[in-house]
Every structure is written in C-alpha cells, then in structure tokens.
C-alpha cells in the first residue's frame, strides 16, 4: 500500500471523514495520486459509512 493510502487509512481510523475532508487534508498531493491512493483504500475492503455519508473503518 502506498504511503498516501496508509495515511488516509490512519485518518479514517482516527475519526469518520467526508471524502472532501480527506481531499482537503491532502491538497498538496497530485489529484491522480490521491485517486490511486483512494483506490487502494477502497480495495482494502475496510470502509463503512455513517449516517451522514462519512467514511469510517468498519469494526472487525
């Protein structure tokens, strides 16, 4: 997993986030790199959603 994907996972472990909040936190990353990293996070199959549409890490 790329360092950016690992960072996103850590942020989601800390608290649920809207997708745009994750984007805001990584405005310095290239958009295409961010999308690839997000794809890695998605593929890890650990994401859930809360009632406001925020992404969160599913409990095991």
């Amino acid at each position: 997993m790329s360092p950016l994907a690992e960072t996103i996972l850590r942020e989601l472990h800390a608290e649920p986030r809207q997708f745009a909040e994750l984007v805001d936190a990584h405005r310095d990353a290239k958009w295409r790199d961010f999308l690839r990293a997000w794809g890695e996070v998605r593929a890890a199959d650990v994401l859930g959603r809360d009632e406001d549409g925020r992404y969160l890490i599913k409990s095991a």
Binding site: F19, A20, W31, R32, L35, R36
Partner: protein, 449 residues
C-alpha cells in the same frame, strides 16, 4: 446532418454563450468555477492531464437548451415531442473518432481520465454526463443516463436505484447470476443526452429518438470489449460490466438534481475493461443541478404532451418548472371539452414521478406566474377540483417519500396531487370576462406626451 458535441460547443461560442479558460485548472476546483460562470465553461488546460480539455455547464439555462434544440425557449417541448414521431434508425460505421485511442488491460485506468470532484458531501469524484447503453436478449438495446462514482482505477459505483429499463435488464442478468455488459459514452450532443433521459417504451431504442432529434441517423461503432454500440463521435467511452452483486455497494451521497445532497445509496458496481477516446478529448461534466434540470424539463414536458394526446386531449402549452427540477410538476393549458380538465390531470399524473399537475384553459398563459395564480384562485374549488392519488411510484431523491426507511434496493411510493384550474362545468364563461379599458383601441398615450 447529425451534429456532434464539438459542433454544439462551436454554436455556443458563436452565440457568446461559452467562456474559454486558458489557465491550467485543478479538477478539484472545476465545479465551483463553472458555478460562477454565466456562460458555459471550456477549460483548455487541465493540470496533470495534458491533451485533455473539459467543458461544463453547457445547458444550464433554457436559452442554451433552446440553442441546442434549434427552437425558441417555449417550443422546446413541442420540438422534442415531434421528433418522437419520426425516429431514425442509426447506422453502423467501421472506424470512429471515439476509438482513436484505445486503453485496454492495465492501461484501462480510470485515473487516466479527468475525474472531477463536484460537491462538498459527495462520496467521491463523479462522472455526471453519461449515455449508458445496455442490451437484453428479449427487449433489445437501451440507452439511459446514470452517474458514476469513482471507487478504484477499475471500478465505479453506478446509481441504479430508480426504476428504469436498465435496472430491469440488470435484475434479469442478476437472476441468472451473470454480469450486465454496459458502455458509457461521455461528451455527446445534447440530443443524445435528451433521448437517453426520455422514458421510452421498453422496446424503443433511444438511439432512434436521438436520430429523430437530429433529423439524421446516429453513426454508431461496435465497442472493443463488449457486444454494444456507442455514438462514433463521442469524446470518451468506458466499456465493462455491472457485477452481479445486486444493490450492495455504497454509492453517494451526490449533489442531486433535486438541489439536495442525497443519501448514501446501495447500488451495483461497474467494472471497466476498456477505455477509448478521441485525440485531444474533451471531458464533459454535467453541472448539477441546473444543467440536469434543464435537460429534464423537455423530456418531462414531451412525455406530458404525449400522455395528453393519448387521452384525446388537445394541449396548447406545457411546462415542467425548473423549481420542480423539470421533473416533479407539470402545468398544461388545454382546449377543453366537458370533463377533460380531470382527464388531463389523470394523464399528466401518469408521467414518471410527476407529483403535481395543474391544468388550465387555453386562455391562460402558463408561462406567466400571475396568470396561473389567477386561474388557480378563481377557477378552483378545492372540494371539486383537486384530486389526490396515493401509493404511486416515487423517486428516492425526494426526501418526503422517506426512502431511507426502505431496505437495500427498495422502491419508494408517493402521493400525487392534481388541480383542475379550468373553468368549471356549469359556470357560464361570461363570469370570467376580463376587464377592458374603455377606449383602449382609440386613444394612445404617446399622443398626449
């Protein structure tokens, strides 16, 4: 002659309705920038995506829609409806601009296309301007418009919760445990978008309707990896399949055409196998909500006209107000015979998810809100002229149907309201004679100035 997406951009520019932006733009910012532009926007340089251009907000006003249709603003619906009576069969071509570049295998990577982020609470970047084609062995080809949320370089979510022919096709494949092949054309003329939005009978091919709108056949080309055909002049095509997983993957929220941030929905996943595009492609994104609303309006209006004519009622004018997103309200004036005010309401309320219908006589200008209010005030008795239909088909994005209480893949119902604002039977027309100024045709104010 059939016009292309690029022809429409040229028409907009000639009419002073297109603004070119030369400075390189970040895809995270394009939606907010288009929202600030009075004209349609054309970005000539995209950061990180050399060779790509991007256009948005093309039909965000009725004026620009009318320009696309080649008609006046009030005649858009009649123009669309007339084309339904003369569909034109598409032709198949061997070589196509949309396949000038072919990306297969590992190169079929969704991050290689300029996927924009649109709204604050969206579940991800979205492709919003799509013509999605699919086939069913029994019912044939279908073209619809469905949004795609980025998930991974090879997968997107797709909003398939509302009733549609493609939803039925998918369900039938799901019952067989098989995927449904689809192809997604992006960057096509508004006629293809309008045809895709029209709820045609299941055995009617929307490509034929688009041909009728153009007055010339669409040129289609066979896809590279699926047994489907797409418009040859599309800017970009995604080919692949809807996985047979049912309504089980999170999709949304998305800034909906109802002007509301929607909810998380449960939907299938689209897996991309091949991406093709033109040289120097132009990515088109539909700016929500206005562009979607203005594209919805003529489709809803044409369906209303058709429903009225099928009920042997003579419509004079029709309007799907943009305040109802061009979708949920229909107002029509008719040349009425006894009883037809109510018949017209029943016909209009049968259209898709229309939940408010108002019918007036043909002396009312339904495009003038004051004239419409006048008819509602003096021609309506609530105990006689209002009908309510409960338990009709609803749409998820309307919060009042409480779709969140449904299970995954569940379909909501709605109540529908009809108001007959025609002159009631039994009231002589003389009671509705408008006041007239004495001497109106004889004296002129300018003679006294």
């Amino acid at each position: 002659m059939k016009k292309s997406f690029r022809d429409f951009l040229n028409e907009l520019e000639k009419a002073g309705e297109l603004r070119r932006v030369k400075k390189a733009v970040d895809l995270r910012d394009v939606s907010a920038l288009v929202a600030q532009s009075r004209e349609a926007a054309f970005f000539e340089t995209l950061a990180e995506y050399p060779g790509w251009r991007l256009a948005g907000g093309l039909v965000s006003t009725r004026k620009r829609l009318a320009l696309a249709m080649g008609s006046s603003e009030n005649e858009v619906a009649m123009r669309f409806e007339a084309s339904l009576d003369r569909p034109i069969e598409p032709i198949l071509v061997g070589n196509a601009p949309c396949q000038e570049v072919v990306l297969e295998g590992e190169d079929a990577d969704l991050t290689a296309i300029p996927y924009p982020l649109m709204h604050v609470r969206d579940g991800g970047p979205y492709i919003s301007a799509t013509c999605v084609v699919s086939k069913d062995p029994e019912y044939g080809r279908n073209v619809g418009s469905y949004r795609l949320m980025y998930r991974t370089p090879t997968e997107t979510g797709i909003d398939l919760v509302s009733p549609s022919d493609m939803r039925l096709y998918y369900q039938r494949q799901l019952d067989r445990g098989k995927p449904l092949e689809i192809a997604v054309a992006i960057g096509v003329h508004p006629f293809e978008m309008l045809a895709a939005s029209y709820k045609a009978p299941i055995d009617m091919d929307e490509y034929w309707i688009a041909g009728g709108l153009h007055g010339a056949p669409l040129a289609l080309v066979k896809c590279r990896s699926v047994d489907l055909e797409v418009p040859a002049d599309a800017e970009l095509v995604l080919e692949g399949e809807l996985l047979p997983i049912g309504w089980s993957a999170d999709e949304g929220p998305f800034g909906e055409f109802s002007h509301i941030t929607g909810d998380v929905k449960w939907n299938p996943i689209f897996r991309v196998k091949c991406i093709t595009h033109r040289y120097q492609p132009i990515f088109y994104f539909l700016q929500m909500p206005w562009e979607n609303d203005w594209l919805s309006a003529p489709v809803t209006e044409a369906a209303g006209l058709r429903a009225l004519r099928n009920a042997s009622i003579k419509p004079v004018a029709i309007k799907a107000p943009v305040g109802s997103c061009g979708y949920w309200t229909l107002i029509a004036s008719i040349r009425k015979r006894p009883g037809e005010g109510k018949n017209a309401l029943l016909a209009l309320l049968s259209v898709a998810e229309v939940k408010l219908a108002i019918v007036t006589d043909d002396d009312i200008n339904i495009h003038d809100p004051d004239d419409l209010d006048w008819a509602l005030t003096f021609r309506v008795q609530a105990n006689r002229d209002v009908i309510i239909v409960e338990g009709a088909r609803g749409k998820h994005v309307d919060p009042s149907v409480r779709a969140w209480e449904l299970g995954k893949g569940g379909l909501p119902t709605t109540a529908k309201l009809g108001i007959d604002a025609t002159i009631p039977e039994g009231i002589p027309k003389k009671f509705y004679r408008r006041l007239e100024y004495y001497g109106r045709d004889r004296v002129k104010l300018e003679d006294y100035l």
